[in-house]
Symmetry: D2
Subunit: 435 residues, 4 copies
């Protein structure tokens, strides 16, 4: 968790203080259920909530105890007893440490998921706004980095929009994957604790009971969660890469926002680097790379081993904090993106209309020219344009064999950009429900 790439909202989910608060809530809810079942006194459960609820847990103190007892949950319980007093002996009855640890991790991941969902909503809103703003902003579509046919900048945004809408669906599924709770004991048999306790705590914490836990909550859930983050990160990379391409000196159809005050902007006015989207590219690599260790975590030995723990201590915070940061950064990039429609037009015009060659070819064929002839007619007019000698439309009009098939008006129509944008509304309706 690099402070530079962290937002406090997400980082705080991984604070020791947050963790201990969640631990307390799990324990206290369990006490409620145990009291209801008559295992511990109702009065004790009440006291635990009252005193523990007000307690300000001292992380340093807990660490100190842990160094002595070499056990994190015992250290916490010892510290808790300093607030709760004698009734603290009723806390954690019949439970194992993993009941607390695994349920807490899932609470943290669920909260992280909620924040990521919020981030995705903000990103979607930003993209949607730019999509409608530039619904009709003509730009050249590029395949293989080479000019292909015209499209609009709004369509680029619409593409990104549905892609991140899919990411939202995936995130919702990933959230569901890890929103489970286990209070099931040493090997998950509920030998020492009634399953009703698990049900109560699950409900109280906004989770589902884990159908079968084995001291631990099965790690396929977490693998799927982190794999999903990896896919979302890759979508971030895609949009970031688009911006990086658009900003390069020779293209310059869009730029990351660059405040006037930003150092160096004026002496080297061209030197506005797409550093935010480059950074997002790197962050995507990081988040993606964490999917693998998470998948390797699935095959724990027998009912559990603890090899997953070190992995999760790192990727739990790192993947969520990094993805949260990246989503928010990308949202800012899109919101503030400087878009240059004139430059888009200029770039498209550079090829003197050659991007319409395919359509001319098709029209000639439809007018009865053989494929070979049509090809030859188009070719002999395309080549000079390519060498920078002339405008494609003008040359075609001047070509006798072409004009024998297509009138000037028909040729003009072939070069009509409207041909390419006529279904923009259709696509927008698919994506946004309106155009």
């Amino acid at each position: 968790m690099i402070p530079r790439y962290s937002r406090p909202e997400m980082a705080s989910i991984w604070d020791p203080a947050t963790k201990f608060r969640i631990w307390f809530e799990i324990e206290a809810h369990a006490c409620d259920a145990l009291a209801e079942l008559g295992v511990i006194p109702k009065e004790a459960a009440k006291t635990i909530w009252e005193r523990g609820g007000k307690a300000e847990f001292d992380v340093a103190r807990i660490d100190e105890i842990e160094r002595e007892v070499k056990h994190d949950v015992i250290a916490f319980l010892t510290h808790l007893s300093e607030f709760v007093g004698e009734d603290s002996r009723f806390v954690h009855q019949g439970m194992t440490s993993s009941d607390v640890l695994d349920t807490c991790l899932n609470v943290q991941l669920t909260r992280a998921a909620d924040l990521l969902l919020k981030d995705l909503d903000a990103l979607l809103a930003a993209i949607k706004k730019r999509a409608f703003e530039h619904k009709d902003t003509i730009t050249i579509g590029r395949s293989h980095g080479i000019h292909a046919e015209p499209t609009t900048f709004g369509l680029k945004m619409a593409q990104a929009y549905v892609e991140f809408e899919r990411c939202k669906e995936r995130m919702l599924a990933a959230r569901k994957e890890i929103a489970t709770c286990a209070i099931s004991g040493a090997v998950g048999t509920f030998a020492n604790i009634d399953p009703q306790v698990e049900e109560h705590v699950a409900k109280a914490m906004g989770l589902e009971p884990e159908p079968v836990s084995t001291q631990v909550i099965p790690r396929d859930r977490h693998a799927m969660f982190f794999a999903t983050l990896g896919v979302i990160a890759s979508c971030i990379e895609r949009l970031a890469t688009e911006v990086r391409h658009l900003q390069r000196t020779e293209v310059l159809e869009a730029e990351e926002y660059f405040s006037e005050g930003q150092k160096g902007s004026s002496a080297m006015p061209h030197k506005r680097n797409p550093v935010l989207t480059e950074n997002l590219t790197g962050l995507a690599r990081l988040v993606r790379g964490m999917a693998l260790p998470a998948m390797e975590n699935v095959a724990l030995w027998h009912e559990r081993d603890i090899s997953h723990s070190s992995v999760e201590r790192m990727i739990g915070p790192d993947a969520t904090v990094t993805l949260d940061f990246a989503l928010v950064r990308l949202t800012g990039v899109i919101e503030n993106l400087l878009v240059y429609p004139e430059r888009m037009q200029e770039n498209m015009d550079k090829l003197g209309g050659l991007v319409f060659s395919q359509r001319v070819l098709l029209a000639l064929t439809q007018k009865g020219a053989s494929r070979e002839d049509a090809y030859r007619f188009v070719q002999r007019n395309a080549m000079p344009v390519w060498r920078g000698e002339g405008n494609f439309l003008e040359l075609l009009k001047a070509d006798k064999e072409v004009s024998a098939k297509l009138s000037d008006a028909e040729l003009d129509e072939l070069f009509d950009i409207g041909y390419h944008t006529k279904h923009v509304d259709t696509i927008f309706k698919r994506v946004f429900g309106k155009a």
Copy 2:
């Protein structure tokens, strides 16, 4: 795609012959829609279906043409025209190669998903059968490879069952991710083809229209698909690892089925190696590793580049064929698994009842012993048992301070295995809806 790890059902999905048949269907359905729109003659569409439908495409011939024209779709269309005749000029009107290629890939992946879902069903059935068969087969639960508390072999199976049920849910979601169709032209603007054609083809092929394609179907869908296969592979690894552990000489609580005729089984009767589950472990590594290239495929440049293609040519068949093979192999392993309940009991008995020490500790505390005292009492009886000197229950009964708190009958009850299995039915009901 290694023949050794392939099943014909899945391999055939990736046959060139299958691919060309799908290409034909996409083209022919598109002709229907174009005919309906009046773009091409209805009679032509009919002829195309009739002649193409009966045609036996010659893969070698298509390859030969491709070597000449250096374009796979053109090669196919040329070959198709050899069957269809003159009307073949109406085929592919207004379409680009990617319309055919990407839609075909998704048809193949969808079919692969259907087969994997069938595999999962068979695996689930196999696991369920063994789960009920061994619902009450007592075995020691192990954390960290060390004996913890008793559980049942049926619970191990129930755990695997819900894990693969989750895999099925994930597979369904992954199938939905890639069941889309794009017939949208060079940069996805439908400039040369009506969106209704895409809608028709999608419906006819059992797909959804891709909301925004850009010549290509966006690769975040495929990334999610392959990431999901990676997670499922990791679940396979988990169950395979369990079998490998159970089969090791010192444990031997279960074994992969070993036919009497299998070479070497009798001269070295102990040398029955869990080679199938070891193999599954390796296959899991392979499938998992393919998730990363799939994620790197997402960030194509602008409207598309073709870097994804080589990746998919390899991992498309490899990941699905390997996972299919692995699921079927695992199903066989589970169906035929030799389970040794007596050996499970023997292993559990080896520790002379020490696995009950925790419960004795708890009982002593509940009877009023201080935590420190209880610990001391248990410890002094546990240590000789650990050294192989005596039985834990007997020693406890003979310990005066223990017997002052717990009667022989009470101690017997603490060593009752029923204490640990009392909620097996509860868990089975959660998992299977019945116990």
Copy 3:
């Protein structure tokens, strides 16, 4: 192993026929050593070489036997006996299958390494040629995709050259990693075979004896080998990405060679897609992704399990064949790359000299201007240039405060490209030993 991305030279290393030939050689060399030690008759060893040496092994026949005996090495030995006759009983004495399998795999990987080294040499030669050809071809250096300072195309090539020279060093190290031989028996103790046999076979096959094998050759060697291939693949991706950038429509400083006959080249003369380098980008993802399963293969259980085998059956051929193909393809791309120096100059000129702004700033400071003043002077002349209004050098000359510090001659000199290329020779000497 996709035929499309395979060269016969590398693919043949992985042919079953090649494998069986290597198996034969290992067995026959072992017989020589056993005969020398007096374990088997010298005459038998001679017969084995003579008859086996001439034998044409029938892969289909061996497969057939394997289906029956379910053991690949036994199947081979059975087939071998069909050629060798009675003396075949002396073959494989005291050896285990892994002695043959693991040594053979390393022979194959060593041969693959040799081919890859040859590929690297050819690539290096191609890059070097283009480096000297374009040593002085001025082009703009770009950081963040934005024009920075001038460099030369030759320097770009020189950078690639040293990078692939490092790859060659790495490949040599990787070759050394896997050039080992093990003939050490069931758990590597040489219980049934003298270590001298291993030493003899190793020498005869051009390998080193594995210091400690445990039935298998330790897989950290293979992990390092495949990780190295992954790094080399990433270097291929770097150079491929450079070409893809240079070829994009707006830049077009270089292009993959495009034969005149290639379909579509003239009707859409701009539509020359960098499909080879895009393909290389995808191949790099594949090879890189195989490093992870190879690393997971290291932690075999105890003396060995067989989980590595399925992984290696796939990535052994796939990684080497794909990298070989990619290196050869990249060599072709570089050899035939169309380089457009004029376009490089044009692109550089587009910014009206702004790339020299930094140097002007520095010169003004050196002439005594405060940093703030210098910045202000440069800025007010840079901005109009940026807006396309004027040439930077002219504006500076016309600026009184600038000309008070720098004469026209001095300014001219600041815009001298020679300033930027003065150390090209130095760098070439570092890289090529000459300039």
Copy 4:
């Protein structure tokens, strides 16, 4: 960088304070060279060393300046000027930020490599000690988790020893990969700075000049570095997995050291969990997973983009700190490993001598029995032993057809463990140069 898995020695390399000290040294050495070249006054260089050398850089203050100027190197230089005074204007002349940043990163990685090499030496020493201690400690060798043939615990250690010796070689190569320095300016042309400055700084910092840098040092070097760490981590996983297996309840041939005082050790004396080696397994997953992002970092755009930076900010510290911690932890595990030779013998004896069946088979064949007969004789005596009915050696002696071929003395000899250990010295000599 998780404090729990960090050692101060390695963590301190990544301290901001360390970084700024290295930045200072790079700048000051560059001043020396610039002074020598007459670019700046010698007196200034001297002052910079004197004042900067004594300065205690204030990290918080630099951060504060950075927030204002939004540039880390400028922030540092500003802070430095607060100590150095007016001569600070001679610092950084003709250099770019990357000259400082990239050279510094390589200094840090080189120091990290040195520490890792020291760790490897300590680990090797620990393994060697245990190897000689247990050179003759008989234990069963296991393939596929199943008893195979006897080996010694010392041989297991010897295997680990050579494996980590290879890791040391790899680490040395990795160190060499990243021990380079670049002071070459905006696109690496030395336009504004003489190459001699780079040579001087390189030498002074213990580095080699980077032959061709392009503002940045090429990232294939770092990819190779991190890939190497991934391989070493995988070797750690192998040895850790061995310990985990040996410690499991049913095997218990070795245990991680467990201090008497450690909580819970006596009440549940069997519950000594191999938590350190499980932890190492997880740490290996983490380090391995970082190789991929490092490889993706190689293909920077043109002369450089900054996508690598965020990746390195995370994996630079994380991979080195984690691997350092893991190596030291593994060293402790090996040094203190509790080894139980008696238990090893007991486990081996469990199969009643069946592990010698292969050798008996061989001996019978050598005595003239046909393979089929030999197999049958062995089989009929092996099966009862396998069912727990009798001792293999006794049964063989009582078998008439066996005793017709092999005398009791000969049979005894076949069961002689010395047969399996006769080459231990040979192997030790290979590994340690002595036995």
